[in-house]
């Protein structure tokens, strides 16, 4: 495959080593961390307005987290070797230690919190469901049907404590991804101590936007009324987080412009040529400035409910596209210029190859399939809960 090159590149720089799958990896982990932070708003910070999205956010985080290692395994090949990360841990490798960050977040935070939160529903369903679902629910109860008030209170307290641990864990999960890029000191496009912080905030932005969109979509598909108070609150948090994220990115940019080290001219040229569309047009104008302006409109003017919903939908979509473009520009952009600062290469994405576009699309569809299955097993809807809860009242109250 002929790769168009401009100027001088070192031989190992012509072909990009990190493909679109490595773009997906920080994008997916960002959605996980962001969705979890949104869930914690209700649990830890007692923002009652976002309660309708609490469980949906947790399930979204889980479904994306289950897919998060797949792009890496596909990129590296030999997925069976990934277990060796745990069997023979390499403590001096930041990438190898990610296995433990992932395991901690999956097992000790997300699964535990979901199990504790859903336990009452699981026990009740294990008594009423039939066939295979009954078996699944009974396995999930771990053989214990305890549903006393005291046990549920203990679950609630433990769940709160896990969410409390979960917030720094979510920061660790995505901050780590930023740390991996930020600590590559040979690459001036990546090497920045701000990278982990920018990654955390952009993760929060993408996760909040994704859950907001999923909540709107699921309500529409179920034919239920969207809780506009909840939506307004999420949009408000999205805007605040986005402003912080954008400010941090601009601070980083200002710092680079003022510092103007030996790499600056080369990177500046790259932004004005090869990355112009993906960085300036898609990431900054369409994916950041436009959604912030749209969300700002809803805060400044009293708009009707239907207009607000439409604005939130457009802003949410643009936000997710903008954050994806940000990951693209970090991962792909960081490999397009020569470390000699004298040349530029191009990225040619295959289609039906191991690291091609089709694989990336499948990997992005997979979390939604997992989420659909999870929602079937563990329905997150609070509006339906009222009916099921009323059926269960005799059980609950009798204790």
């Amino acid at each position: 495959m002929h790769i168009p090159v401009e100027g001088f590149m070192y031989p190992n720089e012509v072909e990009l080593q990190w493909s679109v799958l490595i773009v997906l990896y920080p994008f997916i982990t960002g959605l996980v961390a962001g969705a979890f932070i949104l869930a914690s708003l209700e649990r830890v910070f007692r923002v009652q307005a976002v309660k309708p999205t609490y469980r949906l956010a947790l399930l979204t985080a889980l479904s994306f987290l289950l897919v998060a290692p797949l792009p890496l395994q596909l990129h590296l090949g030999h997925p069976e070797r990934s277990l060796e990360m745990y069997l023979t841990p390499h403590r001096s490798s930041a990438m190898a230690m990610f296995g433990f960050v992932y395991l901690w977040y999956l097992m000790a935070v997300l699964l535990l919190e979901i199990w504790l939160d859903y336990r009452r529903d699981i026990v009740l369903k294990s008594q009423t469901a039939k066939g295979l679902p009954r078996l699944i629910y009974r396995i999930l109860t771990l053989g214990s049907d305890v549903l006393s008030d005291r046990s549920l209170r203990i679950d609630e307290r433990l769940g709160y404590f896990i969410t409390l641990i979960g917030i720094p864990s979510a920061f660790l999960l995505h901050g780590y991804v930023g740390f991996i890029f930020g600590s590559v000191k040979a690459n001036p496009w990546w090497s920045s101590p701000l990278m982990p912080i920018v990654f955390i905030f952009s993760a929060m932005v993408s996760g909040i936007a994704a859950v907001m969109l999923l909540y709107m979509l699921s309500s529409r598909l179920r034919g239920k009324q969207i809780d506009i108070r909840c939506l307004d609150k999420i949009a408000q948090y999205l805007m605040y987080t986005f402003i912080i994220d954008f400010s941090l990115e601009m601070l980083d940019l200002l710092q680079r412009i003022y510092e103007a080290d030996e790499s600056f001219r080369s990177l500046d040229f790259m932004v004005h040529t090869r990355l112009w569309t993906s960085q300036v047009i898609v990431q900054i104008l369409l994916g950041t400035v436009t959604p912030i302006a749209l969300l700002g409109l809803t805060q400044l003017f009293s708009l009707t409910e239907s207009i607000r919903k439409r604005i939130y939908a457009v802003a949410g979509c643009l936000t997710v596209i903008g954050i994806f473009a940000m990951r693209w520009n970090v991962v792909i952009g960081g490999q397009l210029f020569s470390k000699s600062f004298l040349g530029y290469t191009s990225y040619k994405m295959g289609f039906a190859t191991r690291e091609g576009l089709l694989t990336a699309i499948i990997l992005m569809i997979l979390p939604f399939i997992i989420l659909w299955i999870l929602v079937k097993i563990l329905p997150p809807w609070t509006d339906e809960e009222s009916t099921s809860a009323s059926e269960a009242i005799p059980v609950h109250a009798a204790s």
Binding site: V5, F8, M9, Y10, P11, E13, V14, Y86, L87, T88, H90, L112, W115, R119, V123, L124, Q127, T141, L142, G143, S144, D145, V146, L147, S148, R150, S151, I154, L158, P394, V395, H396, A398, S399
Partner: protein, 204 residues
């Protein structure tokens, strides 16, 4: 199915249905016999039964991991560094594949004289001809195959914008049209103008 009336009923039914529950309940009683005499403690254990079960599942997973690790990680792992210590001895025991250019030059003096005059003077024999230890050990019966110049030359000389401009490189499809490189070039002394010149003028 009879309707559920109290959580207490749920517990009793589950205990009756699951022999595992009975085992856990029995072990809890044996372990905390004294403590269980107090009704409050007994109640607490009942209320956290699901958490104890969860802890048991986690413990089983942890033990399974430790057992798996002990079974699959080689004993010599970490002996010298983050790799299998035995690998060093295993690698050292493998037969030597390369003869080394000094051994080749001991017999092929005519080629050495040719090479000295050309741009390939610094290139050792086995770079193109591959490992030749077996041929060096038994030159009469082990005869090495001549490398395919169409493939071997292109490894270095195929045009690539990442290579320095001063390095000789061609787009082989345009340059030779499918002909082997040694149709025109003599690999040991590749410059065409030098072809046929005697090797006696070699600079020592």
């Amino acid at each position: 199915m009879t309707p559920i009336t109290t959580p207490c009923d749920l517990n009793h039914r589950s205990l009756a249905r699951f022999p595992v529950s009975k085992t856990i309940a029995l072990s809890q009683r044996l372990l905390f016999r004294r403590a269980f005499r107090t009704p409050r403690v007994r109640l607490l254990f009942k209320d956290i039964e699901h958490l104890l079960r969860l802890a048991a599942v986690m413990l089983i997973a942890l033990v399974a991991f430790v057992v798996l690790r002990a079974a699959v990680v080689p004993k010599s792992f970490g002996q010298y560094g983050h790799y299998r210590g035995d690998a060093i001895a295993e690698l050292a025991a493998r037969p030597v594949a390369h003869a080394g250019h000094e051994v080749c030059e001991g017999c092929h003096t005519d080629v050495v004289d040719q090479k000295k005059l050309g741009r390939h003077a610094g290139l050792h024999c086995e770079v193109c001809h591959g490992p030749q230890a077996r041929h060096a050990d038994d030159p009469a019966s082990v005869k090495p195959l001549l490398p395919d110049t169409t493939v071997i030359c292109a490894r270095c000389h195929e045009a690539n914008s990442a290579k320095p401009h001063s390095f000789p490189q061609v787009a082989s499809a345009d340059h030779s049209g499918g002909l082997s490189c040694n149709t025109c070039h003599q690999p040991h002394r590749p410059k065409i103008e030098d072809r046929g010149k005697p090797a006696t003028g070699a600079k020592k």
